[in-house]
Symmetry: C2
Subunit: 283 residues, 2 copies
């Protein structure tokens, strides 16, 4: 059904960074400042389009969540952009507010889809634990936890959650949507040097995420790492696979979407068919 | 003359971080929000002092300049703080605004003086060069330079400035004050990975700095690194040692005071005598 559009249009890939502090998340909503609406309005203006284009992103971040590796796609009639996309990057750089940057615009390969072609998304949750306050220069994207976190205990918890399972205990359930996901990485490390020295960075990587899943996973790990909860508690709620009231959702501002990975160009079409069948048909 | 005060008082060392964005610098000024006045007012309040105490710092940062390693001292009557200082850290943590953090308060050794006992101060200037915009999450403490900077050319320039010399070309001269300093380090590197990947960090270390000296040195190096100026130009203005109109002062927000080094406790007294003689008697 979208074949005619594909024939008339060029699909573009956009790589985007933003500070989520002053945005009500990615997805456009009436009367809210959102990353999607901000970008669509400025792209319309600099390209002199009759109506705003539609951006499709890899990870629909919540209000207050940041991105350093967001990817989106956009279909434009062939005559609108005739260079390699760098002109649009420059023009957007002159008009966009300082909390959102389009780092690159490139011609997307055949079958590219920012949402459905992604193999995995990687988020990083940053927190400072114990008595020390958060570095004032990093306070917009590092959360504070008053207890001291034992990284070994936390990572033992993370290990038990890896693999294909129902993450219903960690998601806000949506009617008819699956909460089965493949968790590929869930581990924390303490930054040794540089301006973030002492900060705990928890890397969370999965094929895809449900709503509030990263912040709930981190909340559960922090509970285990600080000794408030046991590994048995974590295993128990995970097996129950129903939204669990004792799982704390961590604050949005500690979370950043860092990277989205796509297959080599020849694998794009298969990946899109596979992801659509899992998440759209079943969801 | 300050011997009676020393006998009645305990000197405390404070380690302080701040986001300089919303401060008119360190030094207290009438009707301005400054780090010194903010801290003195809150210390007075939590310790219930009759009048604000006086903080003496290692580096009087300008408006908009940040600190991650500021050190200050404070003299308090013995009965005011009776623990190891950690109680004051906790109490300040509850009341201070989020843009300033007192990381530690410790009893200062004999002869400690945050200003005069320091051996060196290290600043870091962070900038993103070329077409890419600054990472929105780092925009408060990373400056932007539109040209691409050649690090090798820049560092060749830095090498020629090391050692003991008159930095008058890079300073706002104050009546009667010396501009002779010992520059110990002036070199840039590009951050390879992590959230600051791609950023140029220029490390600037000296026994002490004159007013606007770091930002002028970095401005001169960027001019050389971008090819706008030659090494010969840099050598020429340095030898002239008079404030040079072609030296650009870089924006304040890229600059952070990272570290202040003191001698071992037994060397404090000698260092204070030496630094006072150089900078007070001659200045």
């Amino acid at each position: 059904m979208d074949i005619p559009a594909l024939q008339q249009c060029q699909r573009w890939r956009l790589d985007i960074s933003y500070d989520g502090t002053a945005f009500s998340g990615w997805a456009a909503q009436p009367n809210r400042r959102t990353v999607q609406a901000e970008l669509e309005a400025w792209i319309r203006q600099v390209l002199r389009l009759e109506s705003p284009p539609t951006l499709v992103c890899a990870g629909r971040t919540d209000a207050g969540v940041h991105a350093r590796g967001q990817v989106a796609h956009l279909d434009l009639p062939h005559q609108v952009v005739t260079d390699d996309g760098s002109g649009l990057v420059r023009r957007l750089g002159r008009v966009l507010p300082p909390d959102v940057v389009v780092r690159s615009v490139t011609r997307a390969p055949d079958h590219f889809d920012a949402r459905f072609a992604a193999i995995w998304r990687r988020y990083c949750y940053r927190l400072m634990d114990g008595g020390t306050g958060v570095d004032p220069l990093m306070r917009y994207h590092v959360a504070r936890v008053k207890e001291t976190v034992d990284l070994a205990a936390m990572n033992a918890g993370g290990d038990t959650l890896l693999g294909l399972r129902d993450f219903g205990a960690f998601c806000r359930r949506r009617e008819g949507a699956t909460t089965v996901r493949t968790l590929l990485e869930l581990s924390g490390r303490r930054v040794a040097s540089g301006p973030l020295a002492g900060t705990i960075e928890i890397s969370v990587r999965a094929d895809a995420f449900c709503h509030s899943m990263v912040r709930s996973l981190v909340g559960a790990l922090v509970a285990v790492g600080s000794g408030r909860r046991s590994l048995e508690w974590l295993r128990g709620i995970t097996e129950a696979a129903a939204r669990h009231p004792t799982v704390e959702v961590m604050p949005a501002h500690g979370l950043t979407l860092e990277e989205v990975r796509y297959p080599p160009d020849v694998g794009l079409q298969d990946r899109v068919v596979q992801a659509r069948s899992v998440r759209v048909a079943h969801g």
